[in-house]
Amino acid sequence: MTSPRLSRTILMAPGLGWLALFLLVPCLLVFFNAFYERGIYGGVDYDAFTTENFARLIDPLYVEVFLGSARIALITTVLAVLIGYPAAYAITLASPGAQTRLLILAMLPFWTNYLIRTYAWMVLLNRTGLINAGLIDAGVITEPLPLLYNEFAVILGLVYSYVPFVILAAYASLARLDRSLIEASADLGASGARTFLKVVLPLTLPGVAAGSVFVFVLSIGNFITPDLLGGGHVQMLGNLIYDQFLTARDWPFGAALSMLLIAVMMVLLFTQAVVVHRASARSGGRA
């Protein structure tokens, strides 16, 4: 006979083992690598302990890259929430069958490889791409618009990629919202806008927080989109780390940059957990 505690341990073991082996161990490796000097031919010189790599993080050059990345991630997050939240709300208003179909539609882009989707944007946005060619043919513009290889393209690509995450997170919150609360608000004389601001939004804030943190964390660490759609003109934290490991071959500094990124993510995830906890505490655990 197995006790509930034992069977719980057995059920969790594969997942925990997986995370320990492929998440915790690599993170620890990166952490330790950050405290040594780089080897002469790349790699890590484990005989030379140093904290120099962390000191280099506050070099204005890198601070600027970090702030730039944070700004792009923040703009992406705001746009993704502004697009994803109303979409999620609209989905909750549909009939149950239609809700499933609409959610599948929202997830459909994930069936195609991320790289291919990013290349597709390049086809759309370049100087002779579909958008520019179409606008010139229509006589709206005479010169192609600079749509590609700039911050605009990077943000567009990131928002496009991460809107589905916001939709899913916001939908989870909105679907659990008691419809009679919305009716009660209308019954008490509130307009649609007031109902949204005073009732719907506060009660679904945990979903918005979850979606936002997700988008921000994924955006700030992304290196494919800035590389392809930014065309080397937009340097983000992810690109910097990528370059340190694969181009500059300075693994210890790359490790230090990675630790910075991980620290930012952990702070955000913790903040989100606090928001969710508070929201559920004040509504009696039903948030």
Partner: protein, 373 residues
């Protein structure tokens, strides 16, 4: 329609993708009335209520309030408030903020809001709980917050959807009287929707019994209880005995019993048809009491003691062995004790027997009975 009609429904109909929920209802609710819509689940009472509140638009017909057509007016522009069955309190707001919500939506000055919220919290005995959140309250307290939140708006009409169904029995009985008192104090017209016939009988001035989207009967509690006009009403309110037979000009002919005399509802046609005699357990007397009464005989099968009363199940001789319930006060039982298995003679005065047309509609009656309990 009388001069003091507050709400009128004219041939109101509601279909949901072809299925009729409300089937052409005409209704006039007077100012200052405590009105009940009573019926089993699926009878259309909640749909009718939601149309009055503005959450559903009638497929056909009109609703007027104070003589103005409100059929398509949105809920936030109607001087009507609904107390939700689930109460629908805002979980992220205190009691005070919940109650103030409707006045803030109206854009009332802050002083007025504070004063009116204070008044209504006093009326509903919630003053000390003003700062609590809904999840920190008991069921009865939440119910009072929901009531306060609707009352503070001083609506022309307050709708209550199964207001007491979430409360335990003792609290429910207390709140029935409490609601009656508050209605009197605030002078607002109440329309309550309920499936609980006792609730409707205790609280309402008038009751509309609904059956499959139509009004089966409308009247005072006493009218409905003592003078049901059809089987549905007879069965839905309280306990009722039925004897099946054929209606004739002189009464109901029952196999093995002969003629049972009684009263036909006003306006009933005298054509011969199948029908029934309906009478209350408490109208049956044991022994040959009234010489003019309908005389029955049978065997006592079971006796149940309820404290203040006693009920017997008697299997009749004739009428295919139909079982009827007999109820009498405990004091009467002391005077004339009856034992299980004993043969008894019963008398039912004709003035307390309703002769109703139609055969037993088992499906509707059975579901009505299931919902009533």
């Amino acid at each position: 329609m009388s001069a003091n009609t507050l709400l009128a429904a004219e041939k109101v109909e509601k279909r949901f993708s072809g299925v009729v929920a409300v089937d052409g209802i005409d209704l006039a609710i007077a100012e200052n009335e405590f009105f009940a819509l009573l019926g089993p689940s699926g009878c259309g009472k909640t749909t009718l209520l939601r149309m009055i509140a503005g959450f559903e638009t009638p497929t056909a017909g009109h609703l007027t309030l104070d003589g103005k057509d409100i059929t398509t007016v949105p809920p936030n522009r109607r001087p009507v408030n609904l107390m939700f069955q689930s109460y629908a309190l805002f979980p992220h707001m205190s009691v005070e903020a919940n109650v103030a919500y409707g006045l803030e939506a109206e854009g009332r000055p802050r002083d007025e809001i504070r004063r009116r919220v204070g008044e209504v919290l006093e009326l509903t005995v919630l003053g000390e709980l003003a700062k609590r959140r809904p999840h920190e309250l008991s069921g009865g307290q939440r119910q009072r917050v929901a009531l306060a939140r609707a009352l503070v708006k001083k609506p022309r009409l307050l709708l209550l959807d199964e207001p007491l169904s979430a409360l335990d029995r003792r609290l429910r009985e207390q709140m029935q009287l409490e609601l009656k008192r508050m209605r009197h104090e605030v002078g607002i017209t109440f329309v309550v929707v309920t499936h609980d016939q006792e609730e409707a009988l205790v609280m309402a001035d008038r009751i509309a019994v609904l059956d499959r989207g139509r009004i089966a009967q409308l009247g005072s509690p006493r009218d409905l209880y003592d003078r049901p006009e059809n089987r549905f009403t007879a069965r839905f309110l309280g306990q009722m005995n039925f004897l099946e037979g054929r209606l004739g000009p002189d009464g109901l002919t029952v196999d093995g019993l002969g003629l049972v005399r009684g009263v036909r509802p006003a306006g009933a046609t005298d054509a011969t048809s199948i029908g029934c005699a309906a009478f209350r357990p408490e109208r049956v007397e044991i022994g040959d009491v009234a010489t003019a009464g309908n005389s029955l005989s049978g065997t006592v099968e079971a006796i149940a003691y309820h404290g203040n009363s006693q009920s017997l199940i008697v299997r009749l001789d004739g009428a295919g062995g139909t079982r009827i319930a007999v109820s009498r006060s405990s004091t009467a039982a002391d005077v004339r004790p009856v034992a299980s298995g004993e043969a008894v003679r019963l008398t039912v005065p004709p003035e307390h027997v309703r002769l109703l047309a139609g055969g037993p509609d088992t499906s509707a009656a059975a579901s009505a009975e299931a919902d009533a309990h």
